[in-house]
């Protein structure tokens, strides 16, 4: 599904990804862990097409397409979804009309007819229930006045509505209390299936107790330095990241 090959990128003059390789197949959940400043969130930004990030080398293919050649909206329409670390508040844009526009632009791209108002409402109700998202929040302005937890839960609700092939969750666990973390994780677990995949970017092992990954990767200094199963996360929790740093040659 996603194949990242020797990816180099920089923001302004700073090199942040230095030859990153990663392959994600349908049905898999990958966790990317690493110390602060290792390039975890930058990877999410580069994949989603955030302005300001410049790819200087390597390739990324997504379902056979050159992902890096696509605009951010076309990446989303192809089935990539980034759950933001800091979701944006947009007063005056209603959550509902925003989601409806997004969903229908994605459907149009795929050559599908737009959802009727009734179909949309039905889908919205089903997904609210599935990911335990408060109906009152759906009718408000996009993230306006939402608590940190509500914003993160809205990201998962959007993910449920848009049904991407690949969901990248950028530090979705940060700032969540244990109850919110459980709800978010339950949502993701319900949305997991054999056709989609998730990349969880996280600093802490805690999230991985709830969403159990198939692979854990350690990102350090712009590269993946170690890959293992879910037990690697526990080891990192215990030992920290320092032991992974290669001795200076």
């Amino acid at each position: 599904m996603l194949s990242i090959n020797n990816l180099h990128a920089r923001v302004e003059e700073k090199e942040i990804l230095k030859g990153l390789n990663l392959t994600v197949n349908p049905g898999e959940v990958h966790a990317i862990m690493g110390p602060n400043g290792a390039g975890k969130s930058s990877l999410a930004s580069v994949l989603s097409g955030r302005p300001g990030y410049e790819v200087t080398g390597g390739t990324v293919t997504f379902d056979g397409k050159d992902l890096l050649a696509l605009s951010p909206e076309d990446r989303a329409r192809e089935g990539l979804f980034l759950a933001f670390q800091y979701p944006i508040e947009i007063p005056g844009v209603s959550n509902v009309s925003f989601l409806k526009t997004a969903l229908n632009e994605i459907r149009e791209y795929k050559g599908e007819a737009p959802l009727s108002a009734k179909e949309f409402m039905q889908r919205s109700r089903d997904m609210q229930k599935l990911v335990e998202f408060d109906a009152k929040l759906v009718n408000r302005s996009l993230n306006e006045g939402f608590s940190g937890g509500e914003k993160k839960r809205n990201e998962i609700f959007q993910l449920a509505m848009l049904e991407p092939k690949l969901g990248i969750l950028d530090e979705t666990d940060s700032g969540l209390d244990i109850d919110a973390l459980r709800i978010v994780s339950r949502g993701v677990n319900k949305l997991r299936n054999k056709n989609n995949a998730f990349v969880l970017i996280t600093h802490y092992q805690r999230l991985l107790e709830y969403i159990v990954p198939d692979f854990v990767h350690v990102l350090s200094d712009g590269k993946i330095v170690k890959t293992g199963g879910k037990e690697l996360a526990l080891e990192l929790e215990e030992k920290g990241y320092d032991w992974l740093k290669e001795p200076v040659a």
Partner: protein
């Protein structure tokens, strides 16, 4: 050196010639006196230049150079003009109706062609609700005598209007009358050559009277220079409520200078909603509110969305002269291309006006780095128990927010439109008529589309 503040153009001489004609034609002695005083003011002062403090951001000189036809003689609409107008009005109404979707319970309609009411195209309310009088027949009315020419103060433009106007419309809502549907005033402008119009309105609401007035502009599709120099005087009696909507669209070579002044009595409410869209070369709105008694309210909302090399200038003054009054101003601007906007808002709180609440806010988004905004809020407070505030912001669309929307599959254009509409939402949501609000949102979307 006061003269350097003003400009002399060949137009001034032609205005003088036309003034002599207007005086000859004027049979009403008090009105003749008002005209003479106004013209004396103009002759002394001329049109304001950018050296004049109130006009320093908007240079009118380039718009005063065309050879405008200043015909002040009464002019009857030809059959062809009538048909053209009927066609334009019907298209305009169908655009309005398309956005109404059954929520609309209709509106009365006053169609004015170049300032003159056309009864055949108008649908007026019953006379006991609203009296619609054109100028020559209005002069005998006591309320006309009381207010006409007494409310609007002179500047170069308003003085020319007062001296030379040939058509005027008086709208009067008698005491205790609530006009049951909004009144849609369609200002149709037809040109065969460059013309200068001095259009004039007097709106008088009696005690407990209520009126919603929606003004729109219909201009022909020629490129003739068209200068619309209008004056609106408003008098609101005790407990009157006036919602005044002004939708300013237009075309290239249309220049719109509009002077609106209102005097309010106790417990009256005046709300002004001015929406300026791309089209006209220059729009200058001067809006002055005088709160003449205690316990009044006024709300001034403006949205200007500018394009091309357009200049849109809103100058407001709110005079709090008595205690316990509230004024609230919210102006928002979206600027594109090489356009320019000016917001100059003054609030005066006089010594006796204790317990005044006066608020003013002006927020602007620049969608182009060639666009400019001059915003100048001014507060002059002479009372001590007052709540007053003002604020101005100028910024760009939030890039992170744009990216957020795009990352959900929304195209860049739709994302920008959503954000512009969201920015304008504070103002558009104030429009009480659903159909009108929808019409405005459609207009904004259409104009945004034209940019991309």
């Amino acid at each position: 050196m006061i003269m350097t503040k003003y400009i002399e153009t060949p137009l001034n001489d032609r205005l003088s010639a036309k003034f002599d004609l207007a005086i000859l034609r004027e049979t009403d002695i008090p009105t003749q006196k008002i005209r003479k005083e106004a013209f004396a003011f103009f002759q002394k002062n001329g049109f304001p230049s950018i050296k004049h403090e109130e006009w320093r951001f908007t240079n009118m000189l380039p718009f005063l150079k065309d050879a405008y036809d200043l015909d002040v003689l009464e002019h009857n609409v030809s059959k062809e003009e009538f048909n053209r107008t009927a066609q334009l009005v019907s298209e305009h109404l169908s655009a309005l109706n398309d956005s109404m979707k059954g929520t609309h319970k209709g509106a009365y309609r006053i169609v004015c062609i170049n300032g003159k009411i056309n009864e055949a195209l108008s649908v007026l309310p019953a006379e006991e609700q609203l009296r619609v009088l054109s100028f020559p027949e209005a002069v005998e009315q006591p309320l006309f005598k009381k207010h006409f020419g007494k409310i609007a103060k002179h500047n170069g433009f308003s003085a020319v209007n007062t001296a030379l106007f040939s058509e005027a419309l008086m709208l009067q809502v008698p005491d205790n009358q609530v006009v049951d549907k909004p009144v849609h005033l369609v200002n149709v402008y037809l040109t065969e050559t460059a013309i200068w119009l001095n259009t004039r309105h007097l709106v008088v609401l009696g005690k407990n009277a209520e009126l919603d007035l929606i003004e729109t502009i219909l201009s022909d599709n020629t490129e003739n220079a068209l200068f619309v120099n209008s004056v609106t005087e408003i008098a609101l009696d005790t407990q009157a409520h006036f919602n005044h909507y002004d939708i300013q669209t237009g075309r290239q070579n249309l220049r719109l200078v509009q002077h609106t002044e209102a005097h309010q009595e106790r417990h009256s409410h005046y709300s002004n909603y001015t929406f300026t869209l791309p089209g006209a070369d220059v729009v200058r709105n001067t809006l002055h509110l005088y709160m003449d008694k205690a316990e009044e309210e006024c709300h001034l909302y403006g949205l200007y969305f500018t394009a091309g090399r357009q200049i849109v200038d809103n100058h407001t003054e709110v005079h709090h002269q008595f205690p316990n009054c509230e004024s609230n101003q919210l102006y928002k601007g979206v600027l594109t291309d090489h356009s320019k906007a000016v917001f100059n808002g003054k609030i005066y709180v006089y010594e006796d006006a204790q317990k005044t609440n006066a608020f003013q806010q002006s927020n602007n988004i620049l969608l182009s780095d060639k666009a400019t905004v001059d915003a100048k809020p001014q507060l002059e407070i002479f009372a001590d128990d007052v709540k007053a505030s003002h604020g101005t912001t100028v910024g760009q669309l939030d890039k992170e927010a744009l990216f957020y929307l795009r990352s959900r599959g929304i195209s860049e254009d739709s994302a920008r439109n959503m954000m512009v509409n969201a920015f304008a939402f504070d103002v558009t949501q104030k429009v009480k008529h659903e159909a009108l609000r929808q019409y405005l949102e459609n207009l904004i979307a259409e104009k945004l589309q034209a940019l991309s």
